[in-house]
Amino acid sequence: MRRLLVAAIAVWLSVPLGAQWGGTLRLCLRSEPKTLHPLEAAEESSETIRFLTSAALIRLNRASQQPEPDLAVSWKITDAGRRIRFQLREGVRFSDGTPFTAEDVAYTFDLLSAASLRSPVADSFRSPLGVLKTTVHSALAITIDFPAPVAGLDRRFDGLSILSRRSPLKEKAVLGPFLIAQHQPGVYFHLDRNPHYWKTAPAGRRLPYLDAVRLEIQTNRDTELLRLRRGEIHLINKIEPEHFLRLKGDMPKAPYNAGPSLEPEMLWFNMVPTAPLPAHKKAWFTSRPFRNAVSGAIRRDDLVRIAFQLLATPAAGPVSPANRFWFNKDLSPRRHDPAGSLRLLAKVGFRKQGPRLVSPSGQPVEFTLITNSGNKTRARMAALIQQDLAEIGIRVHLAPLDFPSLIERITRTFDYDACLLGQTNLDLDPNSQMNVWLSSSPNHQWNPSQPAPATAWEAEIDRLMRAQAASADPAERKRHVDRVQKIVFDEEPFVYLLYKNSLAASSGALAGVQPAVMFPQVFWNIDRIHFAKGAAGN
């Protein structure tokens, strides 16, 4: 009841009086979506279409970072996180008029359980311990039982679109604010308002305010910026620092800076025992003092200032300060201390020989840093890191590679020394990063798919991550995750460098835009975005 009241007040407060109805919002997709099936969506364009056209049982409010009722008016988690019971909203209809019931939720879970379905949302509800079970109690009540406790269970429903069991249109019948009206492959999607969308404005009129959303497929980011400046599009969900500053010069009200994003930039050393590297390099890379020394020699402030023009925040660990609940506030970014780095290296036998650093076995210390080509900001970061490490006598060779080649090296051949890359975090809950932290996972980048943890600290991370995933107590989970962050800070398997800021842009024509750090940053509240009084929206 309290939750409902809070949600109602939040909704009331977020709706300006006298908002303008109608108009077509224009924005760009950066590629053709690979699928229009909401349960298969895995990349940004497909997820954008899914977000604009679907509704979920529970939605995460991107501003408060808290779950809110959507198709479910209430829910209760019991049995230590194994069971969730939903009370569904009454009178909701799909876009073709088919009534929404608990049968649709059960049907969606049936589809989700199909072994052939391989997608992030399907994987987030799967468990190696068995299959989930749905029990429909009535048209508006359903219980879902999981084979094992699921941490952060309610938040997982944010990305799950509910499909209709009975509609002849199948997944094309939607519950979200818009529906796909036209699509010209490679050119655009035209979404019309869903006439049956259940949310209403305070006066009782059905949302969304907008008549339509037009998504132009635009792969070139410079063109996207140009089109915003020309008034041909109204929003850009993510923009680069360089574009942000350019916009700030000539359209001061257009750019938004929502502060540190959830996406870190980091580098790591190859610690794969079978990697085709000389033994002395393997010894350096698996040495904690070596990694700490490299980390301490990097000027994070310069990376932020020069590579990101101050539109980033130095990083301390794997959880962004933007993630209010899970961030470990006891950690702060490693200080730039080249003298300290040299002392640390001297303790394990490295020594300076003229301008070069020499290893205990006499080799000059040098390595190649690979990164993906075509990313100007990352290229600048790599060049700055190269300069910083030269100060302590480490020679760094830079090797930008195209993405498939880079993936091949870090996942198959392991033929690399160190890699500079970013990480995409779409979820606030650390459970979504299980595949990074478990030593057995293929995404445990520095040494993937280990049959048994190679080090004691990796075994400890495995234990803590499994413990937090099995607990329904948020405080206990937080303790475990804080400890993981501390271990990662000390051991530095990933040398976290910075969190780039969440930057977006909107033309002055719009009102109600509330940029957030979670996807979709600027249109997460699309049903409440509208054109400002007097602005043309066609």
Binding site: P404, L426, N435, S440, P442
Partner: protein, 272 residues
């Protein structure tokens, strides 16, 4: 020849670094089981013999395979994108030919007027600019993309046509016509343009290939959803079925254009 060109293209892509990887492999939300399934899917494409067997088998029934990077049948992708590129090429060629031939004819019809020198200077300048840069200029200027193709083919047409027409202009029959007072359209059409028509038709075939090749950078930069953009994305995604099909299509178009040009040239050169 066509098949050989396609198969060679496929072989080169197969051995490019990162051939059997998938960007989804870095998606931390996917489970180990899913990642293994994704890898198995990609590994299935790695065998060249199996690929060729399946591709050629499908080709016989009009099936061009499935694009894993775009998650669509290749035939659908080509069908959707071909019209945009054909339009770009057709309009671009028309503009390029009008400008190139127009300048060349003016230069030949009015020797010493400065048109030849001006045309040569412009053609030389454009010839030294890569198609991608032309595309960027058109993008930032907000000018029609078709005209960019025209700009790319213009110097080739102008240089060749200008040389041919200037040679023709010094032939005795043209000099005689001028001496008899023939000028304007009659001089251009009957005496200057008619003799080199066969050679110009042959140039037509070549310019189709040039315009088609220019579409890759132009479509990528100007965001035209055509064959060029598809080729670029397929190369980045190491998408073998798409690349083989595009190679075959390109070879088919080039050879058809040249064959048509040869036939036209032969019939135009025929006396009478």
């Amino acid at each position: 020849m066509l098949l050989l060109a396609g198969l060679l293209g496929a072989t080169l892509v197969r051995f490019a670094p990162g051939f059997a990887v998938d960007e989804r492999e870095l998606d931390t939300r996917l489970s180990e089981e899913t990642l293994n399934a994704v890898r198995a899917e990609r590994a299935a494409d790695a065998g060249l013999l199996a690929f060729y067997g399946n591709y050629l088998g499908g080709l016989a029934s009009g099936d061009l395979g499935f694009s894993r990077s775009l998650n669509r049948p290749v035939r659908e992708l080509l069908g959707e994108r071909l019209p945009a590129t054909l339009r770009l090429v057709a309009v671009g060629l028309l503009l390029g030919w009008m400008a190139g031939l127009g300048f060349a004819l003016s230069g030949a019809a009015f020797p010493g007027s400065g048109v030849s020198a001006g045309g040569a200077a412009v053609a030389g300048l454009i010839l030294s600019v890569p198609a991608a840069l032309v595309g960027l200029a058109f993008l930032h200027g907000g000018w029609p993309r078709e005209a960019a193709v025209g700009v790319v083919v213009f110097p080739r047409i102008y240089s060749y046509a200008s040389r041919l027409l200037q040679e023709t202009a010094t032939r005795p029959h043209v000099l005689l016509a001028r001496a008899k007072g023939v000028s304007g359209a009659a001089l251009l059409g009957r005496h200057l343009l008619r003799p080199p028509l066969g050679e110009l038709a042959a140039l037509g075939g070549v310019t189709v290939s040039i315009a088609w090749g220019a579409c890759i950078p132009l479509e990528v930069l100007c965001d035209v959803p055509g064959i060029g953009q598809l080729a670029w994305n397929a190369a980045l995604g190491r998408d073998l079925p798409v690349l083989v099909s595009l190679t075959l299509l390109t070879a088919l178009i080039t050879m058809s254009a040249n064959a048509l040009a040869d036939i036209a040239a032969a019939s135009l050169r025929r006396p009478g």
